[in-house]
C-alpha cells in the first residue's frame, strides 16, 4: 500500500515504540472535527478564564485582554459557551 510504504521502517524507529518527542500529537489539527465553532464577543469577555480551565483540548489561549480560540484544535464541544458567565461565547455553524 502506498501510504504504508512512506512510513518509517523498523530500522529507524526508536525501539519499543517509545515516543521521544513530547507533545507530538500537536500535528493533529483536531479542529477539522467540529461542526460548530465558538465565536467570542470580545466586549462581553471579562477574561475570567473559566472557559480556559474547562476546555478539554485545550483550544483556548490566554490573551492580553480576552481569551483567544485556537481553531486548529477546537472540536466545537461548546463547553466554553455553556460555562461562560457573561454569555460572551456563541456557537455558530462551521462553514
Amino acid at each position: 500500500m502506498g501510504a504504508e510504504e512512506s512510513k518509517p521502517g523498523w530500522t529507524s524507529l526508536p525501539i519499543g515504540a517509545v515516543l521521544v518527542t513530547p507533545g507530538s500529537a500537536e500535528r493533529n489539527k483536531t479542529g477539522t472535527w467540529r461542526l460548530k465553532r465558538p465565536v467570542l464577543d470580545a466586549k462581553k469577555c471579562t477574561n475570567c478564564l473559566l472557559c480556559w480551565i474547562y476546555c478539554p483540548e485545550p483550544a483556548i489561549m490566554r490573551g492580553t485582554k480576552t481569551i483567544e480560540f485556537s481553531y486548529d484544535y477546537c472540536k466545537g464541544c461548546g463547553i466554553c459557551a455553556t460555562e461562560c458567565p457573561t454569555k460572551a461565547i456563541s456557537m455558530t455553524e462551521e462553514t
Binding site: 504504508e4 512510513k7 518509517p8 521502517g9 523498523w10 524507529l13 526508536p14 525501539i15 519499543g16 515504540a17 517509545v18 515516543l19 521521544v20 513530547p22
Partner: protein, 397 residues
C-alpha cells in the same frame, strides 16, 4: 601477566545461589511474590535487605502479576531489576511477560520450574516456562546451582546490552536444583561489580527528558516493533558469547549456547535441558564403556534457539532422542523436540528424531529410564524404523 582471581566455595542450594548472584549484581529493585519452590530466593533476599547487606528497594507485592509489573516500572525508571517465580506465578504474569519484552526492559527473572495445575503439583517439570516460551524473553536452562549462579550474573550483562535490551529468564529445576545443596564457587563482590558495571539505560522515565512509553500502535506500526524484537533476538547470541568469554576470564568456567558430552563421534545422542542432563551424562559414560557410541547435548540457550549450531553438531549423528519435561497437548512433539525437528527441516540434516516426554510433576527419571532412551536411539541409528515418534516415559497404564 594473568590476573589473580580469587573465588571461594560456599554451600548453597540453587535458590540461595541465585539470590546471592542478585545481591552481588547490586540490583536496585526487587519486586517478588513467594511461590513454592522459589520461596527461598525471596526469603534469602529479604534477609539481605533486613541486615543491610544490600541497598535494594524490596517490594513485597501482592501477586506475581504485580511483581513483574512493578519490575517493568522500575526498569523504565532506570533501575537494574530482578524477580523470581514458578509455575502458577509465571502463568499469572503471562501478559506482563509480553509487556516486558515489548517495552524492551532488561529484567532478569529466575524461574524455579514447577508443573502447572491442574492437578496442582509443586514439583519440577518445564510446563511453566514452556507455556510462555514465545513471550520474547531470552531463556536459559541451568543444570545445577553453579550454573544458576553463573547464568544469573551473566544475564544482567546480556539483557542490558544495547544491542539486546530484552528481559531474560534463568530456569532452574524446582526442588531438584532449587533446594539441593551444592558447593558453589562464587566470585568476589568486586569482581562481579567490575564485570557487570552499572546499568546504562537507553530510554527512561525522566522529567528532564520526557518520553511516552506504551503508546497504542495500530496495524500500520505494530509489525515494525515486533521486527525489532526479532532483530534483538538475532543479536543476542554473539552478545551471550562475548559475555561468556568475559565470564570465563574471571571464573574459569566457560558457557555457551549448548554443552556437548561425547557428541563429536556419537551415532546416538540424547538432547535435554536442565538437571536431567546430569543423569544423562552418567548413563552415557557407562554406555561408552560398553563401546556404544552415545553422547549428550545439553541445551543452555533455549531462546534464541541455536538452530545453526545444533545442526552443525548433529551433522554426523544418526539419531537423537529429545527429552521434553512438559507435554505440548495436541502437538506432534513436545516443545524442545519441536524445535529440533524444525532445525532438521530448516537445515536439511538427516538425523532421525524422536521425542520422549518424562519427569512430569516431579516424577523421578532414573538412569534406567534414560538408558531406554539411548537404546532406542541406538536401534534407530542402526536402521530400525521409528515406531513412536513421541512417547510418554514412566507413566503407569
Amino acid at each position: 601477566m594473568a590476573r589473580v582471581i580469587s573465588q571461594k566455595i560456599v554451600g548453597m542450594n540453587g535458590n540461595e545461589a541465585v539470590a546471592f548472584a542478585a545481591k552481588q549484581a547490586r540490583v536496585d529493585v526487587v519486586a517478588a511474590y513467594p511461590i513454592t519452590p522459589q520461596t527461598i530466593m525471596v526469603e534469602r533476599f529479604s534477609d539481605y535487605v533486613a541486615n543491610g547487606e544490600v541497598d535494594t528497594q524490596f517490594i513485597c507485592v501482592e501477586s506475581e502479576h504485580s511483581a513483574l509489573s512493578a519490575c517493568v516500572g522500575s526498569s523504565l525508571a532506570g533501575s537494574r531489576v530482578f524477580t523470581a517465580t514458578s509455575s502458577q506465578g509465571l502463568a499469572l504474569m503471562h501478559e506482563v511477560l509480553y509487556l516486558a519484552s515489548g517495552l524492551r526492559t532488561p529484567i532478569v527473572m529466575a524461574v524455579a520450574n514447577r508443573a502447572l495445575s491442574a492437578p496442582i503439583n509443586i514439583h519440577n517439570d518445564h510446563s511453566d516456562m514452556m507455556g510462555s516460551r514465545d513471550c520474547g524473553w531470552i531463556q536459559i536452562y541451568a543444570e545445577n546451582a553453579q550454573e544458576a549462579y553463573d547464568w544469573t550474573l551473566q544475564a544482567f550483562k546480556i539483557a542490558e546490552d544495547h544491542d539486546v535490551l530484552l528481559p531474560m529468564t534463568v530456569n532452574l529445576d524446582g526442588f531438584t536444583i532449587s533446594h539441593a545443596m551444592e558447593g558453589v564457587t562464587v566470585l568476589e563482590d568486586g569482581e562481579v561489580s567490575k564485570l557487570l558495571g552499572k546499568r546504562q539505560p537507553k530510554y527512561g522515565l525522566d522529567p528532564d527528558n520526557p518520553m511516552t512509553f506504551g503508546a497504542l500502535t495500530l496495524p500500520d506500526y505494530y509489525s515494525e516493533f515486533k521486527r525489532q524484537q526479532v532483530d534483538a533476538m538475532d543479536k543476542a547470541p554473539p552478545v551471550i558469547e562475548a559475555v561468556a568469554d568475559e565470564f570465563k576470564k574471571v571464573s574459569g568456567r566457560q558457557y555457551s549456547d549448548v554443552s556437548c558430552f561425547n557428541v563429536e563421534d556419537a551415532e546416538a545422542v540424547v538432547i535435554c535441558m536442565g538437571s536431567i542432563a546430569g543423569t544423562a551424562r552418567t548413563v552415557a559414560a557407562r554406555l561408552r564403556k560398553q563401546g556404544k557410541r552415545v553422547g549428550v547435548m545439553k541445551v543452555w540457550q533455549y531462546r534464541p534457539f541455536p538452530t545453526r549450531r545444533i545442526a552443525e553438531l548433529l551433522s554426523k549423528v544418526k539419531c537423537v532422542g529429545v527429552i521434553d519435561r512438559a507435554v505440548s497437548f495436541g502437538a506432534p512433539y513436545g516443545a524442545l523436540c519441536s524445535d529440533i525437528a524444525s532445525t532438521k527441516v530448516q537445515t536439511g540434516i538427516q538425523t532421525k528424531v524422536f521425542n520422549v516426554i518424562c519427569g512430569l510433576g516431579g516424577r523421578d527419571v532414573k538412569p534406567a529410564d534414560i538408558e531406554q532412551v539411548f537404546e532406542k536411539a541406538l536401534r534407530c541409528a542402526g536402521g530400525e524404523p521409528l515406531d513412536m515418534p513421541t512417547s510418554l516415559l514412566g507413566v503407569r497404564q
